[in-house]
């Protein structure tokens, strides 16, 4: 098997808190292979966005305090900030939930795409401008030759996200990190943007690290899925297998919260009772146990290790440990 494009091992991220460091991500490991889509899924506060920000070194205010992030074999933890700046946009690009927070309101979208290109590639202003029109065409913005002169506020939310994708693809990155890229969009536009990302990935061979809270989107987009809860990985594996046979109670609960055509319209959307604990107030034992319908006594005092269920398939739950082993361990 070829080496992964991105290899994250035992990543730990802390933020300063009022009474000491707060651990937002605890010993997280995953990899992304060239051309594939790995979805990182979990509720707000699961650590999924922090893990992806760490890859790009966008943690100002926090710290990677442990572990390793290797991209194309190169260690990024502790790398020179200038090296990370060169990687961002050129080899690893990112799109966020809210395009308006990333687009500069004072410059036309054409200027911004051309600038993204010229920062990393030795191209003339004219060629960069021409490439901006090509990219806007590729991402399906209507009338791209005119839209290239538009300011961000003249575009709809969906069009702004298309511009962000065009900017992200400008340098043909090997890895695109998309953090909730469709959460702020209505469902029709969401489907268009997901389709665009799939097409862009296929045409450019880009690997996609897709961060989302939505298991429905995971089912549509990903090859493999990493499920996170309260800063920990709780399950990972091929999407089809995990969706067909979720082994971790948290994954099961996430899947059960996907509305289906049979979901009654007059009832509230299905949801997991309770909230993800704040990293400063984590429960002992399994972090999910206060919300878990399958919790054992042991879950309140001891955290289960990640258990290998099959090649490429792991889950963190005492339920996977054979009963005789649990009895032996007391």
């Amino acid at each position: 098997m070829t080496a992964p494009l991105l290899d994250v091992r035992d990543l730990t991220v802390r933020f300063p808190g009022p009474t000491g460091p707060i651990e937002a991500v605890s010993g997280v490991s995953f990899d992304v292979r060239a051309g594939e889509t790995l979805a990182v899924v979990g509720e707000s506060g699961s650590g999924k966005s922090v893990s992806s920000l760490a890859v790009l070194g966008l943690l100002g205010g926090g710290r990677v305090t442990g572990g390793s992030i290797r991209f194309q074999g190169e260690e990024l933890v502790g790398a020179d900030p200038e090296r990370l700046r060169r990687l961002r946009g050129a080899d690893i690009a990112m799109i966020f939930q809210n395009p308006m927070s990333s687009l500069d309101p004072l410059f036309t979208v054409g200027d911004q795409i051309a600038e993204a290109l010229r920062i990393h590639r030795p191209v003339s202003r004219r060629d960069a401008r021409r490439r901006a029109v090509e990219l806007l065409t590729e991402v399906g913005l209507p009338d791209p030759a005119r839209r290239v002169r538009s300011y961000p506020h003249e575009l709809s939310g969906g069009q702004q996200q298309r511009v962000m994708i065009a900017m992200a693809l400008a340098c043909e990155p090997a890895l695109l990190i998309a953090d909730e890229p469709t959460t702020a969009l209505d469902v029709t536009v969401e489907a268009q943007i997901l389709d665009l990302l799939r097409r862009a990935q296929r045409d450019h061979g880009t690997a996609l690290l897709f961060v989302t809270h939505d298991m429905g989107v995971v089912a549509e987009m990903a090859d493999r899925v990493l499920v996170m809860y309260a800063g920990r990985v709780v399950e990972q594996g091929p999407v089809r297998e995990v969706l067909r046979d979720p082994r971790n109670p948290y994954t099961r609960a996430l899947i059960e919260s996907i509305p289906t055509p049979a979901t009654p319209r007059d009832l509230p959307m299905p949801a997991i009772p309770g909230n993800v604990p704040h990293p400063s107030d984590l429960p002992g034992g399994c972090r999910f146990h206060p919300r878990c319908p399958a919790a054992l006594d042991r879950c309140a005092t001891e955290e289960a290790p990640l258990h290998a269920l099959a090649p490429g398939r792991t889950s963190r739950c005492w339920r996977h440990v054979p009963a005789e082993e649990v009895a032996r361990a007391g």
Partner: protein, 76 residues
Amino acid sequence: MSIDESALSGLRSTLEADDYRMAVSESGSSIEVTITAGPDACEECLVPKPLMRNILHAALGVPEDDITLVYPADAS
């Protein structure tokens, strides 16, 4: 409301290690937090605002909606 500077000391020193400066002022029940970048700071490398608001909320106990956050890019 008064700002508990000791609750912010950890965040302040983490930011200063990367050549950012943080100024906090209060106005009624809300606070404004302005983070500026020194010459050695990476302006675009601060965590996204929702995450920073969450950190500030944990430190100060002020609701996230009452925290106005100004980043270096906002001032340019």
